[in-house]
Symmetry: C2
Subunit: 734 residues, 2 copies
């Protein structure tokens, strides 16, 4: 499978990291070839078909069947496997009513129809369309369209003289994680929230709709969690603690991550009569979707009745955990995970990623049967309850926190997978590892490496002005991780080096979290020959094997330094721009520029002047960067040019994989102590979207200068602690 040229390139990359292990390269390549030979696209397809055969959400009987099937697979592959069970809260729908009560009547369908073209779409056991973790409620009020429902959308509404106070907000899916929308709506006084899929982002605007094409039909609905996961993910009743049977639990009413207002997701078929009934200002240009109506913000005569009640049941979450013990360093774990629970059948999300994980486990099992002994212990996991809020992974991580912080070398996550380009995000000290891996895996369609194909896409997608820079970049870019899958507890709570991997970009569609995320859909539109399922198994599997067998673990913190350095530059630029734009904006307000430019016949409220942006003292951070530059370079030089003595190798490796924990702070981020990483977090107002250097960045965005200044000191402190750790390793490795 290997192309000589890409292998040669990988050798160069690896050589930089493993000077003392030149012989190992050939062994690695040979092992990976044998690993690849046992991967079967047909088997990936069969696994997807089996595990997506029935609806299998958290707490369902079929969920338990799926967990047991996975357990048996691991065992059959020669792994030591078990199920770890947690007792968690999980709301399912009891009552769902949505109706337009004025100026005309419309009763929402709240139902996706079964289709003859989709064999599983009419099965029993499907969760109805709903958003888990909305509050119970029965409200009737005027409706207001809030665009994506982000804080800036409410600023815009204020300028238009529109308030959601005491009203029901209708937001469209997109731009943010869905849970942000009802949270921000409630912050602004809304008493209910509807989230709909607009055909602009998710429907006919994008392409032909299902079942003719892949995109969302007028009846498709995106289910999903609206738990306030940016506070903490996992079981809302047991923050920071594994939800074992004996765990101490909060009263439900005290759980900060459960919303207070009712929330319901709807199709664009159900949304259109509601939106068409709105009055008030015409929605700003960038608020308009693709429905054949004039979008208004409301309010007006459109009155809506929304009633949502849930069964707030305790259910078991079944995490399947399989281990293959390491021969040399059994207490160094490479953890690999993908969830198994789905909103409905979940052929794409999560089964396509899980099928790759199981294929890796099968192949590794085969290697082991043939005599291969991984140096380190492999821990392969299939999580339950990811969909409602990363529940299975979070509870397991919280339950095993101390052991993981001691033993986990890295956590490698996948989730849904499809045809297209490699997406890789994670700890930037693993950049060179993933660069080498990506150069060694062949893209099934073009036969160049997945690195080269990703690079081509990056160049083509770049803005013309940025293209030259993108072309000149010579290594894989790892994205920064926000949230949205099971890496969060490992990475942002415990500081375990993490990766999130998957292919996509040519697997567009509208099936996400609907009854149409089925095997029929997957094989028509996602990865028809499962070749990207194999490619993902190669990428994740090779990363696992390289980590498992490295003499010296392939961490290079100079890449992390460069990345953080870029973030600091962004922050100083952002503060400067905010200062400049605030001055200009305040002058415009003082000069009445907005009033003079506004149409006097339309409602308009001028914005209010904001406090000027002070110059922040970034020096602690800038000095910490200088220290990190020196420390990371010294360590990288040392590991490149000297052979770590065998006697200290284990201590060096342990220090290498534990180093990232120095970037945590015990008190966590402002307002959300569970998130302890100073470099990466999901945005408080974006959700999935990452905020890097989050303590500082969000304080600046929220114009909280005191907190920004404090957080600069906090982050600089963590970085200095981290640099000191690197210095220790350098000294140790010599």
């Amino acid at each position: 499978m290997h192309k000589p040229i890409t292998l040669a390139m990988a050798v160069v990359a690896l050589g930089y990291l493993y000077p003392a292990a030149a012989q190992q390269k050939t062994a690695t390549a040979q092992l990976e070839t044998r690993f690849d030979q046992q991967l079967s696209s047909a088997n990936v397809g069969a696994t997807i078909k089996t595990l997506s055969a029935k609806p299998h959400h958290l707490g369902s009987a079929e969920g338990k069947v799926v967990a047991n099937t996975i357990l048996e697979k691991f065992k059959s592959y020669g792994w030591d496997a078990r199920i770890e069970t947690y007792q968690v809260l999980f709301p399912t729908p009891k009552t769902r009513v949505l109706e337009l009560t004025a100026p005309t009547k419309y009763k929402a369908l709240l139902k996706e129809p079964a289709l003859p073209e989709d064999a599983t779409s009419g099965q029993e056991g499907q969760l109805p369309t709903y958003n888990a973790w909305g509050g119970d409620g029965n409200v009737t009020a005027e409706l207001v369209y809030v665009n994506y429902g982000l804080p800036e959308d409410y600023e815009r509404l204020e300028r238009l003289g529109v308030s959601v106070k005491g009203k029901i907000a209708i937001a469209r899916y997109g731009r943010s994680w869905r849970g942000i929308k009802p949270k921000v709506a409630a912050e602004h006084g809304a008493i209910g929230c509807i989230i709909y899929s607009d055909p602009k982002e998710d429907g006919y605007y994008e392409g032909e709709v299902y079942p003719k094409g892949a995109f969302k039909s007028e009846y498709g609905v995106q289910r999903g969690s609206v738990m306030d996961m940016v506070i903490y993910p996992g079981d809302p009743l047991t923050p920071g603690e594994g939800a074992t049977a004996s765990a101490k639990r909060l009263e439900r009413s005290l759980a900060a991550t459960i919303l207070k207002i009712p929330v319901l997701p709807i199709s664009y078929h159900d949304a259109q009569p509601l939106l068409a009934a709105l009055e008030g200002p015409v929605a700003p240009e960038d608020w308009r979707g693709a429905l054949p109506i004039t979008y208004h913000t409301g309010p007006g005569k459109a009155t809506v009745h929304l009633q949502v009640e849930s069964n707030w049941n305790m259910v078991p979450a079944y995490d399947v955990v399989a281990t293959m013990k390491g021969a040399e360093y059994p207490d160094e774990w490479i953890v690999r995970g993908n969830h198994h629970d789905a909103w409905v059948n979940g052929a794409g999300d999560p089964i396509s990623g899980l099928a790759s994980l199981l294929e890796e486990a099968k192949s590794i099992g085969g290697l082991v049967k043939a005599g291969y002994k991984p140096k380190r212990t492999l821990v392969y996991c299939a999580w339950d309850g990811e969909e409602p809020g990363l529940i299975g992974s979070t509870e397991w991580v919280e339950d095993h926190a101390a052991e993981l912080q001691k033993k986990a070398v890295a956590y490698i996550n996948t989730d849904g997978n499809g045809r297209g380009f490699l997406g890789a995000g994670g700890s930037h000290a693993l950049t060179k590892l993933m660069d080498g891996v990506a150069r060694d895996v062949t893209d099934p369609q073009t036969k160049v490496s997945v690195y080269e194909r990703r690079r081509a896409a990056n160049i083509v997608m770049a803005a013309p002005a940025a293209r030259k820079n993108v072309m000149e970049k010579k290594t894989l870019s790892l994205g920064a991780l926000g949230s949205g899958s099971d890496y969060s507890p490992f990475f942002q709570h415990l500081g375990i080096p993490s990766l999130n991997l998957g292919f996509g970009g040519e697997d567009d569609g509208g099936e996400y979290h609907s009854i149409y995320d089925s095997y029929d859909d997957y094989t028509r539109f996602k990865d028809p020959d499962f070749s990207y399922g194999v490619a993902l198994a190669q990428v994740a599997g090779h990363a696992v094997l390289r980590l498992a067998d490295a003499e010296v673990l392939p961490f290079d913190f100079t890449d992390l330094y460069k990345t953080i350095s870029g973030y600091v530059k962004e922050l100083t630029d952002q503060a400067d721009q905010l200062r400049e734009s605030t001055l200009i904006e305040n002058k415009m307000i003082k000069d009445r520029t907005y009033q003079l430019a506004a149409d006097p016949t339309k409602p308009f409220t001028a914005p209010v002047a904001k406090a000027e942006v002070p110059f922040l003292d970034f020096s602690a951070l800038q000095n910490a960067l200088v220290t990190l530059d020196r420390a990371s370079s010294a360590l990288s030089d040392t590991l490149s040019h000297t052979t770590v003595p065998a006697g200290t190798r284990q201590r060096v490796n342990e220090a290498l994989f534990q180093a990232e924990q120095s970037l945590l702070v015990a008190q966590g981020l402002p307002k959300r102590p569970w998130f302890k990483h100073t470099i990466y977090a999901p945005g408080f107002y974006t959700g999935y979207g990452v905020k890097t250097l989050p303590g500082i960045r969000e304080a600046i965005e929220q114009r909280n200068w005191k907190e920004a200044q404090e957080q600069i000191q906090v982050v600089a402190g963590a970085m200095n602690k981290f640099s000191a750790k690197l210095d220790e390793i350098t000294a140790m490795a010599k």
Copy 2:
């Protein structure tokens, strides 16, 4: 009406230009106050109602009635008025058929319905929906969607593997002048062209539709000319010559501005079934409109039958010309114009602008009756046949070319008008004149000056990064003129300093060139109290009076220098960027980057490498700029600091207003000798959109390096001739 503060500011601006005429400022202000006092919004409204009472297109009986009504008005105001008649070709519809013949049948309505809410919408005498100057033809072929129908859209189609050769193109209105669309379609081998109004640009996407709101309903159709006016406007049979009865005429088949393929405009009601039937690739994101369908490029099963035939009749064009003889300089003319013909009733276009012109004439007539004597001759014109191709104005200008080049100080044009912000474009040497005028006219809604209101809008509309620059700008910005109204022959053919003026931005709607451009529509959505009709009369009227009575004409060529200097910077940047982007693009092609990034399951044709962009020798232009800087500054200094001797004043003034003619070149622009101005022209592929330094800019855009180099010399030559002229004036004025 004057606010002291804005008057004070104007005095400063005027003081700069008229050092020797400080006393005149008070006289000017007093005269303008008396002028303003005679303007009546009620009368503007009454004029609009009268002149838009019936459909009155070129060649219609009602058109003649309208011309006579205008003639009588001028006479009643005390002007010397006459009608000058030309004999011109004008096609009107004989046959119009459009039907989808496969895969389903649909026969297009091609008809706008009468509405009870619009009193004139059901009148007889309406021209049917059509595009004048398309070829006669009867074709049946597959359909291809070409977006806006611009050259870059065809490049995109080629990348998608789609050709229009032998097919019928369907383009949406927008981005370019409509005549560009069938012209470019024909260049690419299309045998017919349909132009439709997409609700994205012109319909419910923008706001509520007529008659509930102002925007285009599903049945509205935009009529309009598709004459290839960027070659030459006016009667196609008499290029460069007035279409008098005895003029030499071309054979119709030899007229370069008449298209060869049939063209038809349609509503979005008629377009939807056609577009929905298209197959082939999904249209690129920026090609998609607001219809509730998936936009495809075609082709596929969608087959269309298009038949268009015209009556190619000769008709009389009635230009109404009114003069008020100058007391001191009768052979120096201030020409003011607005057309009177409409596609249908034309309350907005053109009658709203014409009503302001007539109001000015009425007021000036009143002033004259009360003893005012303009120093220079005023020539007020109402043009016929503007809609089909600037016919009345062009023929009159061509007929009187020599006299106009000798006598015309300036041409001030208006066309439709509405509520909102002042838009002013034209000869940049008149920047300070218009800055002063705009500071002295009060915005009816906000009571600040129309300058201040325009400035506020510019600031608010600016991209955040550009705001600071816009805020720091201390004078009115004149736009550069492309085409689309009657200034073209004066300005771009003869080099007569020109201005185009109008208010708008709060008068949105979809009535343009439809039967709904009516008095009912105008009074609901455009300028309900006609106060902007009065404001336009003030702006245009004050400009006329200031030009008419100036001791030394208010031309300041330093503003023109600054403007041209900016254009040269744009061109050198453009050449550099094109060089850089061509290098990058060619490398991407060589590296197969596009192929690797493309979805292998979709049709894709990689772009072809382009010749590298050579370094052009801009030195002649840069040196000419230095000369112009010096010459314009010297003249400006001289006129500011010395009093022109009375004996040479007339020669100086004549030289000042004739100076811009030095920027013409006898051979005209490449491929279009009628357009002789080296600084401003309508774009060969944009139509209305201006191209500044057009000879050079379009050669660069079309990658014709030899022509670009030649044109640099041509433009530099014209600029040097112009600078020499300014030096002569400086010498004369001392």
